[in-house]
Subunit: 368 residues, 2 copies
Amino acid sequence: MSELYAVRRGRLRDRCAAAGSAASLVSRPANVRYLAGGAPPGAVLLLGPDEDVLICPGTSVPDPGEGRPDDRLRITVLPAPGGDTVVAAARTAAAAGAESLAVEETHLTVARHRALGSVAPRLRLGDLSGAVEQLRIVKDEEEIASLRIAAEITDQALGELLESILVGRTERHLALELERRLVDHGADGTAFPTSVATGPNAGLGRHRPSDRRVEEGDFLSVCLGANYRGYRCEIGRTFVIGTTPADWQIELYEVVFAAQRAGREALVPGAEYREVDRAARHVLAAAGHGEGLAPKTGHGVGLEIEEDPQLAPAAMGKLDACVPVTVEPGVHLPGRGGVRIDDTLVVRPDADGGPELLTITTKELLAL
Amino acid sequence: MSELYAVRRGRLRDRCAAAGSAASLVSRPANVRYLAGGAPPGAVLLLGPDEDVLICPGTSVPDPGEGRPDDRLRITVLPAPGGDTVVAAARTAAAAGAESLAVEETHLTVARHRALGSVAPRLRLGDLSGAVEQLRIVKDEEEIASLRIAAEITDQALGELLESILVGRTERHLALELERRLVDHGADGTAFPTSVATGPNAGLGRHRPSDRRVEEGDFLSVCLGANYRGYRCEIGRTFVIGTTPADWQIELYEVVFAAQRAGREALVPGAEYREVDRAARHVLAAAGHGEGLAPKTGHGVGLEIEEDPQLAPAAMGKLDACVPVTVEPGVHLPGRGGVRIDDTLVVRPDADGGPELLTITTKELLAL
């Protein structure tokens, strides 16, 4: 198992060496976890010329499985209470004879960057930003297996909620109930704060649950996801409360459903990110809902709930096989509510049956 | 109400002017909230020479009450999807004729700092780090009222848990149950992830709940807190499961209880931060538990769960009246478990009755 992390670090090292950096310092938590197999909060990973060191803060109590040493990886815990992990990494790199150090400028603060420069003034500082994120885009089958389990748990939690009485309950309570069920079914936690939106709130992306109660005739949209072994998935569904949906509700639902299907069908290896976005966006625009749309139609998922690629109008790049993404178009009509439909899928070649749908809860318009 | 935020910004402006900065840029979320009365994620606050501007990202949907405009405060939302709020702030400051701009170097990333410098190359960049945090230490009575409600909610949630059956339930489930009860009683959310620790885990600060089940004879320690209107409090208690505690459990509990009382009694205006820490730490050390203690005995609470002051051996500074802090010593015996007792209190002068205890759940050793 720990072999896997050594391979990933080897890939990063090759990349940094090609860019002229002998050593690199990874501080972004998801990147540290990707390369070291888990890490306590505040840990940083130094990839040095001869060995790699996971430097944990003195206040940390590493959980079992956090930081798996291997032939190249050493783990150190700073003496409590003190010492900045970034500063310790700079000292270690300098002591190992490194002349340059690439850091994650999009994560490191100005103050820590300055501290690093002052303890190791001879170290030439470069930028590593985005390099690990790029490696993380294409997942291996073990990562996809974790996402698959995360999605199963998510489908189960949502399925159980649909069997319960919803009218009269608040957004906040329904969100908590969903989160409890995620953990009941084996999630390590939620992938992101669960969103439950009723009536005029429905269809808003990432709406924060309020004390509004579910009422007859409402649209109800939910967005949730499990975190399983660090891997995070996402599902979003919209329902109608009551016996029969109104005509405008059926119409709006059909438009968003068609847009979401168009986005899903555009998920083929080699497709440009922005083509996928355009496929979904075009359907909404053609139905007169082109204004006020969210800036993107989907995004990568993995150790973070929003990672590369971005499925957005200005995104550059093409999909590869084994890239998990969300497809989540939505329309919100101010004052009335709206619809969002959101799946997590893995890009697969046609020969393998096309995109693999991980979140399998029905997308029919259910009246609950 | 919005007057309040204008007064706070005025205080910061005076301070920055004295330090030679005409304009300042606040990016740390709790600081933005403190000065503008709430802000959507990603918003930054520019304090300019003539007006203040809350700059919200284009993807944000400000909640009601997020960002309250007043005579000096203007709110702008960047066009979706794009544009960095920090870059927009730099442009606004330069356009307003500012020559220098103080930024929060302990929060701003190297990449954003560089982007800021490149769009406004004539702006002299300074450091604002810690200035707002310093203003936030002493709370006004309205802030303390919010903390008091947060503590009431927390006591209620904990009290209800104590009436339920605990044996056989997992740490994870008990933590979720507590969080649900916090929200039931009116919390806007949790102040931090709830910690429930049983058996050998008990007494560990910030233990992440696992699937371990509560067993007869266990120590059970819990740490939780409500977030009410942004203000966060903290309570920690340790119980024994079963009919009668073992002798070692009673002994250990008494030591930690005495340490916590000593810490509480040291909370007087004018006391040095490290004196408070020493008061509690000394009791533990005298009983032979001086090794392996947490690096601090307590900390300030407010818009963040861990803010200044730090009650720690090397902390510099003295307590003022109206500073809310936690007092939370603990001892953990590897393999056996341990005890932590944690209260939130407000420093008050003796004339006002001494420290005000916000978290009033009993600290007797309960056998549940």
